[in-house]
Subunit: 402 residues, 2 copies
């Protein structure tokens, strides 16, 4: 599909806004009740629904609950099964580390080891960032022949290690035993591959050197390694679609995902309102704007229906500011549902709204799960088919064939 | 999909009519307005809608605007991306030239060259067919060692050249520079392939020989070559589906497309009413009837909403004549939308109606874009899934698996 789209792309001056409210889709807490989106007062979104078309979108496929990585890749038009991004690579890009083709990224946790080398606290007492950062920087002293090593702080007990050498493999099992009272596991390949064995040797050596450097620490005197990952080769968003793309997000992981596909990360907003400030400021510099709102997901994960309703209302409140900019295509959607009832991501469809001049206005009267699923003019479709529609409504695709 | 269908096909005496109203799908000219199909008085189509089921069909995929070739191949159940047919091959089949596997077809335009060999008129003053045909026939004198050459008139300044030799390649750029004041370009391969280089040599030699033969002409003393194309290997419609298929169309290109998949081209109708005459006349001789109505597309391309509405009404008016024949399955659809608002093909879905004894009658009350998209019983589906449904409703598919 992306090959087809890439061959048809046409440049023009239209602007596309994709507003992604993370985990927006929900469920009623009780049979016969309303979803978070139905419960919320959303006059602006409902007005958009009346002049747009809705569809029910599946992030990966029906029945599949996506993580944030696959959820966003689908929205950006990348087959999330083909471009599976390991946790280590996600974390590294989240802290803006520029991963290259010879890199294996690893998520590391400081842990506390007892005198026998067994884990007594898997998160090193949730050591605060101020205390952990100097320790992370100390680990940069480690040098191992045959491999370049990068060590990057993340937050609290979490940091990232990147091993760089030609031919390293990324198929390595976590060393975190997922329980206390046992030592960290040795790194083991999960596939029979020479490159993976070399990664394991370097990782083991790194662990040993780190333990020496951390020997005098009380909390963080050891580490576990998880999510070993190489970066898949991902075609650049601009090369595929011909749009200059800006990503506006508060959380590092979403910035990282956008950066992985080659979007520019714009601004340092801390709230949704500040994100719209950034959108206004960079409006003339880009054609495509990915705007990410985190808190519908966060409150869904908390299982807090009422707070999620408030977040939906916050989302609704900024719609007029986006409309005022006059996007040619405005999309409101989510990367997956996070119903408060489930306190987790879910497999349910994502209510997806497209507003554009040449949209066939459908029968829906409000922006909601039921409206989009039952009488949305866009029907039901997988997320990878969203970008082609966005580009079509923006007049950015040539005719296929004669 | 076609392999699956071919393995399940079952012959019986049922008859299927696929009525294709080219470019039928539309858009309101203004927000809140009606589409051409909604504006038109269509009592017969609406009556069919009440006793049939509708769906929203995508010719290629969401967001993709198809040309006529891919649009029709999809309707016939052939993956339009896999079976991409170049313009030269389309034009050749349009004039009923039986293209073979060793043929490269080329669309040629007579042009006017000045004394320096530069193009002064890209269409040779739109030379009338009476004048151009003798010149085309004259070009049949050209003989080049190593290649068989066929030259076929089309219309006005247009003709077709077919080069036939084993191993010729079709990946060659147009020689039409798309502007006047410069000479025609030399034919150049667009891929690094020996067969393409040979095609270029023959094409260049043909150009030189043609210029000699045309040297004394005032208008048509040169030519440009476009749309170099080999024919993909396309399985025959009858082999795949087991139906004897008749194509009834006014325009050569649609006859050509039908012929490419192995349908019989029946009659020489000049109007929709004459097409239905032909349908009546050949009713006993075939099982599947592709009836093509051109003018909904033409008026859409003109941007003439009111005239397109009239064409829709003309389409509606012949429905009773088709019903009288008693088809077991009657399909009304289009190869793509051509909204008058856009004056061009578009990516919007095609309202598609199936009437058959065993159809599950849906909630739609009228034949229209909104009805089919928002509450059509057939949902949203790609065009390649239309033929399997047609055959199923005709009782022409065996059970799959035990």
């Amino acid at each position: 599909m992306q090959d087809l789209i890439q061959g048809l792309k046409k440049e023009n001056t239209t602007k596309i806004v994709m507003l992604v409210s993370d985990g927006l889709g929900g469920l009623p807490m009780k049979p016969g009740g309303k979803t978070e989106l139905e419960q919320a007062e959303t006059p602006n979104l409902d007005a958009l629904a009346k002049r747009g078309a809705q569809g029910a979108m599946y992030p990966i496929a029906r029945g599949i609950t996506p993580g944030s990585g696959p959820g966003h890749l689908g929205l950006f038009g990348y087959d999330p099964v083909k471009y599976l991004i390991g946790r280590g690579a996600l974390e590294a890009t989240g802290v803006k580390f520029p991963l290259g083709p010879n890199d294996v990224a690893i998520r590391c946790n400081f842990c506390t080891l007892d005198a026998e080398g067994k884990i007594s606290d898997r998160r090193a007492g949730r050591i605060p960032t101020e205390e952990s950062t100097p320790l992370v920087l100390k680990l940069r002293e480690i040098s191992i022949p045959g491999v370049e090593i990068f060590v990057e702080p993340v937050k609290e007990h979490r940091f990232v290690v990147v091993l760089r050498a030609e031919g390293l493999g990324g198929k390595v099992a976590d060393t975190d035993p997922q329980r206390e009272g046992v030592p960290p596991l040795d790194p083991k390949p999960t596939e029979d591959c020479e490159g993976c064995r070399r990664t394991c040797q370097f990782a083991k050596k790194f662990f040993e050197e780190a333990c020496k450097l951390l020997a005098d620490e009380k909390k963080a005197n050891g580490l576990t390694m998880r999510g070993f990952a190489k970066l898949p080769h991902i075609p650049r968003f601009e090369d595929v679609y011909g749009t200059r793309a800006a990503a506006i997000a508060v959380y590092p992981m979403y910035k990282g995902l956008a950066q992985l596909v080659g979007m520019d990360i714009v601004g340092e907003p801390a709230t949704l309102s500040e994100e719209i400030d950034v959108l206004e400021q960079c409006w003339d510099d880009y054609d495509f704007f990915f705007v990410h709102f985190k808190y519908t997901d966060s409150r869904g994960e908390d299982g807090d229906f009422d707070e999620k309703v408030k977040m939906v209302q916050e989302l609704d409140s900024i719609i007029p500011r986006i409309e005022k900019l006059g996007p040619d295509v405005l999309i409101v959607t989510c990367d997956h549902s996070t119903p408060a009832k489930l306190s987790s991501h879910s497999w349910h469809s994502c209510p997806t709204l497209i507003v554009a001049d040449d949209v066939r206005v459908d029968m829906t009267e409000a922006y909601s799960e039921t409206e989009s699923e039952c009488r949305g003019g866009l029907g039901h479709f997988p997320a990878v088919e969203l970008m082609p529609q966005a580009l079509a409504f923006a007049g950015r695709l040539e005719k296929f064939g004669a």
